[in-house]
Symmetry: C2
Subunit: 205 residues, 2 copies
Amino acid sequence: MLEPMARKTGSHAEQTGPRVRTAALQLFSKFGYAAVSMRQIAKEVGVQAGALYTYTPDKQALLFDLMRAHMLDLLDAYGRVARKNASPHQRLEDFVRFHIHYHIDRADEVFISYMELRNLTQDHFEAIEAFRRRYEAALEDILRAGQESGVFRVSDVRVTSMAIIAMLTGVNTWFRDEGRLSREALADIYWDMVARMISGVEVPA
Amino acid sequence: MLEPMARKTGSHAEQTGPRVRTAALQLFSKFGYAAVSMRQIAKEVGVQAGALYTYTPDKQALLFDLMRAHMLDLLDAYGRVARKNASPHQRLEDFVRFHIHYHIDRADEVFISYMELRNLTQDHFEAIEAFRRRYEAALEDILRAGQESGVFRVSDVRVTSMAIIAMLTGVNTWFRDEGRLSREALADIYWDMVARMISGVEVPA
DNA sequence: GTCTATAATGGGATAGAC
DNA sequence: GTCTATCCCATTATAGAC
């Protein structure tokens, strides 16, 4: 160690890269991509604005990387949870519980991935949308399997899958860990609602 | 009419005010509040940027007015549809169909009212949130009435109302009039799902 | 009511020293 | 890898002429 230890400047490559991403994630989520300046991100990280360009070619790439990483993580995490050979009922319950827990823990990433789509360039937008469709398709597969085996009664697989994802993701707008409900109680309630929604039991008019 | 008719400048007070609001609405919805400049709005209206300040004290007030007008319209429109003395089942069906139709027709307003909350000042934010809570409370009242009279079986009124609103509003992200489903077919599907979700019928595990 | 011009500030991104 | 300094351009909002 020939360099002074208390220096304010110097090389911190392995630390600074992730810190830039974390700062951008939090700031974009809180104020919106367009409202956040590179100078703000730099200040949060503790470097000068020019130094950010060591880690990203530009602001747009920073946004895309965050959204892409989120979608890849989501697909990967679900892939490790999904049990393709289980019953449709079990697979759906797994999906519901996975979605709620995964999304609650990643409020910033989820928020950005829904809110900042319009700030992506065309190519980037299409890439993110493709990832999202893969996730939606996973749910549609489960609904179709249940429908075909007669355990679910779903009037429209596509609409039902969009309804389920919207209602589950909506949890992020109001749920707080300090609130009245535990995560487990929350997931139980949502699973009960989803199970009824797709049940084969006839409902009296 | 003493003034020339083809003039580029002059007074158009009654026309320009609404045009400013319409342009702001569309641009904020498409690109986001922070990403839209007063110059862009002015260009869309066909005036110079300075002229906008005849109609709004600043950009923030323009956003707030749009969101406030949307919430007031929503509460007013629902108030005219709601039948307080009908059965909970009927009132819920009315709510579901009203929400879907009303929101599909106002995609820009709905988008802004959900996306731009963070760009409001504290006072403005609280005002909008109060309107939103009134709308949510209307749905909660219906669910509570059905629960108490035994026709609904709802495990948590608050969670169920948030789930229903999220799933209904989610329609706006994907529904297109040129698509596979008519609005009526869409509303039928959603009402079917909601009716099952809150039904008193036991679902087999 | 709208224009032109401008004040005051801040934006993204780059160059070159260290 | 980070800094300082800077380019160039856009921003919101206002002043004063018409």
